[in-house]
C-alpha cells in the first residue's frame, strides 16, 4: 500500500494545498466566512474603491462568479457598492467590514505562521519564491 506519486512535485503540491485550504476553512468557519470571502475583504481593504472586475483579476475569480460573493458580503453589511459610472461599482469596506477584516487578518496570520512552522527550517526561505515562480506569469 504505497503512494506511487508521493515524490511527484505536482502531486505533493496539490495534496499540500488541499490540506492547508481545509485547515484555513476550519479556522474561518467561526466567522461564517469562506476563503473567497476572506480574500475579497482583505483585497478590498488594500484596494479601496476597486471594481468587482479588477478585484476578480487579482484573485483569479471570474466576473460571473464574483456576483454572488460580492452581493453576499454586501448583504452581510461588510462592504458597500457605489456606482462609479453607469456600469461599474466601487467596492469599499463598511465599518463592520473593517472590523471583521481585522479578525480575518488575525486568522490569516495565525494560519500562515502555523503553516510555515511545519516546514523544516532549511526549506522555509525557499518556499514562497518557488511557489511564486509557478504561479505568477
Amino acid at each position: 500500500m504505497k503512494d506511487a506519486l508521493a515524490n511527484f512535485p505536482g502531486y505533493a503540491l496539490s495534496r499540500a494545498s488541499a490540506k492547508m485550504l481545509g485547515r484555513l476553512a476550519e479556522r474561518l468557519a467561526p466567522l461564517n466566512l469562506r476563503r473567497a470571502d476572506a480574500t475579497i475583504l482583505v483585497q478590498i481593504e488594500a484596494n479601496p474603491g476597486i471594481t468587482p472586475s479588477a478585484l476578480g483579476q487579482i484573485v483569479a475569480i471570474k466576473r460571473a462568479n464574483m456576483v454572488s460573493l460580492v452581493s453576499r458580503l454586501e448583504k452581510s453589511g461588510y462592504i458597500s457598492r457605489n456606482a462609479l459610472d453607469g456600469r461599474s461599482f466601487a467596492l469599499n469596506l463598511t465599518e463592520k467590514g473593517t472590523n471583521i477584516c481585522g479578525d480575518v487578518k488575525e486568522i490569516l496570520k495565525l494560519h500562515e505562521d502555523r503553516l510555515m512552522a511545519r516546514i523544516p527550517e532549511e526549506h522555509r526561505d525557499h518556499f514562497v519564491p518557488a511557489l511564486k515562480a509557478l504561479w505568477s506569469e
Copy 2:
C-alpha cells in the same frame, strides 16, 4: 491594484496549485481522463489487487466518491474488479489500462519536469520536502 496576499505562503500555495492542476488537466484532456482517473490508474499499477477503500486512503478520496470513478474506469475497460470476499474487490489494470497508464505516466513526467523547470534552481531541491512536510502527518 495590488495583491495584498501575494506573499502569504498559504495563498501562494493555493494559487500555484490551482494553476498547475489546470495545466495538468489540459494535458490529460486528450486522453479523456481527469486527474483523479490518472492518479487512480497509476496507483493501481503500483498496488495491484488493492481495494477501493485502501486506494481511497492513499489518494485521499472518500469511499463514496470512489464508486463513480472506479466504475467509470471499469466501463472504459481500463481496470477490472474481482471479488476478494463478500464485500471487497481487488482492482487491477487490464491490458488496455496498462497501455493508457503508460501514456499517463509519460504525461505526468512531462508535467512534473516542466513544473520543476519553472522553479529557480536554488529553490528546487527544497520544494518537495517542504510540501511533504505540510501534507504528510
